[in-house]
């Protein structure tokens, strides 16, 4: 067991973890933050995307011990009270989700993308989300949602 101390969605937490515990399972099983999903085992699908120190990261490919001392944001940490984060709002309004399993990952990947590039072109959006897979939407409305979020200044 190794002890870690990190800030998740603004709250500090300390825990002893098995070194092999991946960050995603730490978030889900230890902290009960079930919004972060696991969709593959090869760092491909991006369903587990969270922000580590404000950058998008696939939490299935980071051990919890590596996140020691970091600030982690999951989908649960985006809304402010009852107000959805502008990216969440845009996904909702543009019907950018169907089954919703990939959505938390896409939302966080979008938050990170827009932080690095606040006014992306369609090509930049598509390439910026290449690390996230969706089987339901054909990506069409996801791209529209990112454009809407960018317009809203997310």
């Amino acid at each position: 067991m190794t002890s870690v101390a990190l800030t998740v969605n603004g709250s500090r937490c300390e825990a002893d973890v098995e070194p092999r515990q991946l960050l995603v399972y730490f978030l889900r099983d230890r902290l009960g933050l079930k919004g972060t999903n696991v969709g593959c085992d090869t760092t491909s699908c991006g369903a587990c995307t969270v922000l580590v120190d404000d950058e998008s990261v696939k939490s299935c490919t980071v051990f919890a011990v590596q996140a020691d001392g970091s600030e982690v944001t999951t989908v649960e940490g985006l809304a402010r009270g009852d107000a959805l984060h502008p990216v969440q709002q845009a996904f909702h309004e543009q019907h950018a989700l169907q089954c919703g399993y990939c959505t938390p990952g896409f939302v966080l990947a979008t938050v990170s993308l827009l932080k690095e590039n606040p006014n992306p072109s369609e090509t930049e959006i598509r390439e910026g989300l290449e690390g996230n897979l969706c089987r339901c939407t054909g990506y069409h409305n996801i791209v529209k949602a990112v454009q809407a979020a960018a317009r809203a200044g997310a």
Partner: protein, 732 residues
Amino acid sequence: MENLSLEGALTVTFVRSLLAHANIVDVDATAAEALPNVQVMTAADLDLGVFGPGFPDVNPSMGRPLLVVDRVRFVGDIIAIVISDDSATGADAAELVYVDYDQLPAVVSPHESAKDEALLFPEAGTNVATRAGSPEHDENLFDGCDVVVSGTFVSQRMAPCPLEARSAAAELGPDGRITAWLSTQTPHQDRTALAETLGLDPAQIRVVGLDVGGGFGAKTLNVEEVLVVWLARRLGRPVRWTETRSESMTALPHGRAASLEYTIGGTRDGKVLAYRLEVLQDCGAYASVGAVLPGLTGLMASGVYAIPRIEFESRSVVTNTTPVSAFRGAGRPEASQAIERAIDTFAAELGMDPAEVRRRNFIPTNAFPYTTASHAAYDSGDYEGALELALRSVGYDALRDEQRQRRERAATTQLGIGISCYVEITNGIAEIEFGEVEITRDGGAIVRTGSFSHGQGHETTFAMIAAERLGLPVEKVTVHKGDTDEVARGTGTYGSKSTQIGGAAARLAADDVLEVAKQLVGDYLEASPADIVLDPALGRLHVAGAHSLGISWADLALRASADGRLAELRAEHEFQAAAPTFPFGAHVAVVEVDTETGRVELRRLVAVDDAGTLINPLIAQGQVHGGIAAGVAQALYEDFVYDDDGNPLTGTFVGYAFPSSADLPSWEAVEMETPTPLNVLGAKGIGESGTIGATPAVHNAVVDALAPLGVRNVDLPANGENVWRALRKAKA
């Protein structure tokens, strides 16, 4: 599903075969069981029979044992079950279960399988699971044809890839009833199948479908779920299982996997007179749904064309690969892919524009209802209207000009334009669906449906349907589904049938509730129920012609509740349509092909999809978008492949080319609505249309781009390598 918390649940990990075909000599679980709280079970511990095939015409000896008894038949077949406290220990223990195999030659190609040389089920005496159509050839089929052309291609094997892999959990209650939480499309049918397989009364089983992360046809009851439920009963402890992605890639059934051979003949002026289609369907290791899908391919063989003579024949054979089942389209994409390639091949042979050949052969708009030579009874359609709308939307003539210019200057990157006109069958066996509407204490409504939603948005669409009938705001209506204890009956979601039968049942139940409400209002207002009408704008029932004499849903619910009569405001309705419906459309794809590297880039895809009346256009378009992406994925990217020994080569998302947003363009979806007379909503299915339309459009576009270089066909997926091979073959 994984978010379900289940106190004290044990974790199930399956030990799966690493070989495609072998006899099992021994299974040694000693080392695994030495890990803390680990128990291992094999077929010897099991008191259950075989699962499937479940279809009367399929060879009954090709069903799947729940646990392998003595022979594994594909990489992923289940040999043993590890039960542990957590999934990490389960993974550790599964590695320590030593299996002694006696390897057998693997049968990987369906063509090899069809020779019946090495048999997967020696007791069956054949690898053929079933046949459809007629093996008889009419020697005169192509009489009168000036031109007869043929072609072959493989509608390649695809992995359905719902983003949430499967998950199942089960718990035996103190009353002896078992609750199963499943990642499924079909909770009620799962209950029935569980009861049959486990030898239980269905009343002893409650199936709950929670939030399910996509299905695409693959998430119906399978051996894993049966084993989880069996274990919960056997162990008397709650158990759970969640599939890993690499497990899912070989354990979740695949789709397509059909080899197609077509011959088409007609006159020089472009009139098709005869068509023959042969299908060799790969069922995978055990015969189940995949075995019977060619029946749908045969039914839909004629496509949107009035073809006087059609012959169809199929054989379904087992191979040492993952079992094949339904995947988005299920049997109908193969029909469209074949006829649309055939029409293009015929047009190329005539030197005629493929749009023009289509125009000359469409079933005319005034011919519906229309029965094809392949025995499908189409309800309604306007095929030419769909094509003309698609051609206008894409700017067909300008694109042909651009293409001509590139061809004239022998540009490295050529332009291809591909057309696909399709018709498909939804609610294919005209099933029954259950709907119930109940007015709640606060004057809202609950819709209970036997249909299931795992991303299709029934929660919104069905609420809209009921809200509109009752004059309620849509947010006052909630949709309940998926719990067999709460929803009396149901068939679930597949075959694009939800709205047309489940939505219709909800609508009819809402109408029934309204009638009951009129009775009640009549009682309260001392008026005849026949004189009570609904003001849908206000959500208020009043005496006809006397607006002030009325009562709102909220007041009615309050009063009925106080009088103990609220329960009267509830109605069930089961709806069965007289026949399936036939959505249709036209897709036009524009591709650029690098004739040196073979790389294909899809530039545009215009899709006209007509699924009858749309209840919620936003949701319907979402279904079209996702459908198109799956169709394009087959046309350009995905292919589940095995080596000669039956080892999967694309068993993860790294190897399997599931496209991302960066690999696809935005879609240009154009709506068209031709209502069906077969249900009160006028709605047909929309979930699979995009897929069925898109693949042949893109496939035809790639071949079109390369036509001046002598290319007549490109294997699917039309990726860089397959394009390069086609070019090389054309040069040779």
